[in-house]
Amino acid sequence: MTNVIEARGISKDYGTGASQVLALHAVNLAVERGAFVAIMGPSGCGKSTLLNLLAGLDRPTAGEVWLDGERIDELSEADLARLRRRKVGFVFQSFNLIPTLSAGENVELPLRLAGRRRRDARRTADRLLADLGIENRRNTAPAVLSGGEQQRVALARALANAPDIVFADEPTGNLDSVAAREVLGLLRSVRERGQTLLVVTHDARVAAAADRVVTLRDGQVSTETTLGAVRQVAQLLEVGQRS
């Protein structure tokens, strides 16, 4: 399988001199197309920094980032923005919906940025909101939506242009257990549609749904566990026991 995301020896420093903080150090990571990868680790280990660098939201201090065969750490900000428009969806922990736009308008926005006609964008946004069960909240302001609803709108916005890769930073971090379960179900459906999914999480349930778990410690990859094979074996064992 081809790698859709590749990090080659990426490092990230913040600050200078004595106050310099090394957030990531020479991280290598490759993610295959269609994979669901969870990134875990203690607070401050560099999970979100890694996700931001891979999504092109920030630039590494050293190393290379490749996205779908294109080196993105050298792209201009405008080219990066266009690339994100086409290929990337991003879900934030704190939802980050645009407060002056309604739920539906938040979902329409990336579609219109990608050049879709207003009516077409509206139709697609309506379908996405219906798929996520919040079609009745279309004209509602983000401020009056519940956390779970906001995260569903954020997910709909991230999926609007059917991006190849969806990045999610602690998507269940601010949700209660019921809402977290719902969002996890939605993430699974993303993966089932064949989109690549990279999720930073502390939530073991989210990690358990992934194909691979990458654990960071002190800005470096400490372990990588492939769960897909384990899960397949477990499923086979389960089928065998039933029969």
Partner: protein, 585 residues
């Protein structure tokens, strides 16, 4: 508690030097115009009194149809001194090929009262003429010039031997025809028809303060319309009317500056409240009531306003004599600094309540949310989902502009105040341009009764207004960016380029500026006509001679200045990496 509120207010002033400076500048400019309005009328008071004393001025001056009538006034009770009546007649002289009407006083020896105070040359003698000083200056006639008078018997040449002033004679051309002195014999040669003469009598009273009452009782002795009487107080008021156009302009600008200060204070306090939303919630959490929180902002505005008024008093006082300088042509000495302390109190009495109330109201409105809401959200949440907002989204506007407009109208109060401030500034500019155009449109050689300093004053005040409004625009841009940094990060994460982020701010502010400046054109023309009407009593729309390209320059210059004001902060905001922007609180 008062000490705590004061401490918090002063901490706010120290922490926000830009906003504090802007408030001081604004109130200082408003105070300067108010002080100028009040001072300009009084700066010539002392020089006029000196001229009156030097001329042994008339407590009552009377103009009659017959010489005999003047004796009636001279014999009235209360008169301590009277003089022979002086014959007056209008003649025509040729100056630079143009006919100029002039009022000639035919002196028969040296008068005892209302004596012409010599400024240059010598006194009048047969075959010569002495010109009133402002007339000689306005027409550019130096001593030694030979003037040709048209008389029934043909041209008559008179040499100008001197210039003089009189306390009863206002400046030419406001008082037109101007005044000149000849001997009585010369007057008989120039205007032989004595039926067209009038007689001017001058008396002094035992008690000068009774002059107005004396005038009233004297009028009753003559048939209506046959006599014109003027007390010394009327003469002084007429001489000091020189400052009227300046007073009207300064009053108009004082009003405009006060209006803009309401808008800018509301914007700045709104910005402060938004920036300190969580802090305000914490103050409320520890026991401050919304009224006390608003009081902090009101104290802050009052303190800055008081500083601004004190600073504004100085230029107001110093500018007043300069702007009243044209009056010097009719006086012994130039207008002087008056520096009446009451004027600072008047300025304070007008400005302070306005800024304190607007600060209190702006803060009060923003302190209504619950403590928990404020602490959780950390920022004042904008309104969303309005019909106007949906219409903007559904429109065919480019996405950056649509996003900018949605944000602007989500904070409607700020948008309205911003539009208001730009309209007022544009209005002032259009009015000044119209005034300048009217001055330019006068036939060449025609002497203007508008002091040359008037357009300069108006353009200076325009510049002050423009600087204040521009600074407010920068403040609004910075505020919008501060409030939207996280949104900008999100927008860039979903595909907006840095240029689109910049244009979402710049294009909206420029569009608002364009609309506001278009509104300001008719309003500015109306203001110009109103000022003209107040200063001269005429309100003919033909007075509007402003070239269309001058007017077009306003909706070009204002949006351009707005784009400059918002583009630099917007570009800086667009350069923040999205990952950092979304973490911003």
């Amino acid at each position: 508690m008062i000490a705590t509120l004061l401490k918090l207010s002063f901490a706010g002033i120290r922490l926000r030097l830009l906003a504090s400076t802007l408030t001081i500048l604004l109130t200082g400019a408003a105070a300067a115009t108010i002080v100028l309005t009040l001072e300009v009328g009084t700066t010539a008071r002392d020089p006029w009194m000196r001229t009156f004393n030097a001329a042994h001025g008339a407590h009552v001056l009377a103009s009659f149809r017959s010489e005999a009538d003047s004796r009636t006034v001279a014999n009235l009770p209360g008169v301590v001194e009277s003089d022979r009546p002086v014959p007056m007649a209008t003649a025509t002289m040729i100056v630079d090929g143009r006919e100029v009407r002039v009022l000639l006083a035919g002196l028969d020896g040296q008068p005892q009262i209302n004596v012409p105070v010599q400024m240059e040359g010598s006194g009048v003698r047969a075959g010569t003429i002495v010109l009133e000083n402002s007339l000689a200056q306005a027409l550019g006639i130096p001593v030694g010039t030979s003037l040709t008078f048209t008389t029934p018997s043909g041209p008559n040449e008179l040499e100008v031997v001197g210039t003089a002033v009189l306390p009863s004679q206002p400046r030419y051309p406001r008082s037109n025809p101007g005044l000149a002195w000849v001997t009585r014999t010369t007057l008989e040669q120039l205007v032989p028809d004595q039926g067209s003469w009038r007689w001017q009598g001058a008396v002094r009273l035992t008690d000068p303060s009774t002059a107005p009452a004396f005038v009233g009782s004297a009028y009753r002795l003559f048939p209506p319309g046959t006599v014109y009487l003027q007390s010394w107080q009327d003469q002084r008021a007429e001489a000091l009317r020189e400052a009227d156009p300046i007073k009207v302009i300064a009053t108009a600008y004082a009003l405009l500056l006060i209006i803009v200060s309401v808008a800018v204070i509301a914007i700045l306090i709104g910005a402060r409240v938004s920036g300190q939303y969580r802090e305000i919630a914490l103050l409320k959490a520890v026991g401050l009531t919304p009224r006390q929180v608003s009081t902090i902002f009101a104290i802050e505005a009052a303190t800055l306003g008081a500083v601004g008024i004190l600073i504004g008093f100085v230029p107001g006082v110093l500018l007043a004599p300069r702007l009243a300088a044209p009056a010097a042509a009719t006086l012994l000495g130039s207008p002087e600094v008056a520096a009446n302390p009451w004027h600072i109190l008047v300025a304070g009495g007008v400005i302070l309540p306005v800024i304190v109330v607007s600060a209190f109201a702006a803060a009060r409105k923003s302190t209504r949310s619950t403590v928990l809401q404020a602490i959780h959200s950390g920022t004042l949440l904008p309104a969303s989902g309005s019909r106007l907002g949906r219409a903007i989204t559904a429109s065919a506007l480019p996405i950056p502009m649509m996003l900018g407009l949605r944000d602007l109208f989500a904070r409607r109060n700020r948008a309205v105040w911003l539009i208001f401030a730009i309209v007022v500034t544009g209005t002032a500019m259009v009015a000044t341009l119209s005034m300048q155009a009217a001055l330019n449109a006068r036939p060449s050689g025609e002497v203007s009764d508008v002091p040359a300093e008037l357009p300069a004053l108006a353009f200076t005040l325009d510049a002050v207004l423009a600087v204040i409004t521009w600074s407010a625009l920068v403040a609004v841009s910075l505020l919008s960016i501060r409030e939207r940094i996280r949104d900008f990060g999100v927008l860039r994460a979903i595909g907006l380029t840095p240029n689109q982020v910049t244009s979402s701010l710049v294009s909206v502010h420029s569009a608002i500026a364009l609309i506001s400046s278009l509104i300001s054109i008719p309003v500015g023309l109306a203001l110009y006509l109103a000022i003209y009407w107040l200063a001269s009593g005429s309100s003919d729309t033909k007075l509007v001679t402003t070239p269309w390209w001058w007017l077009v320059a306003v909706p070009i210059a204002i949006p351009f200045a707005t784009a400059v004001a918002s583009s630099l902060p917007a570009r800086l905001a667009a350069q923040i990496p999205p990952a950092d922007a979304v973490r911003y609180e």
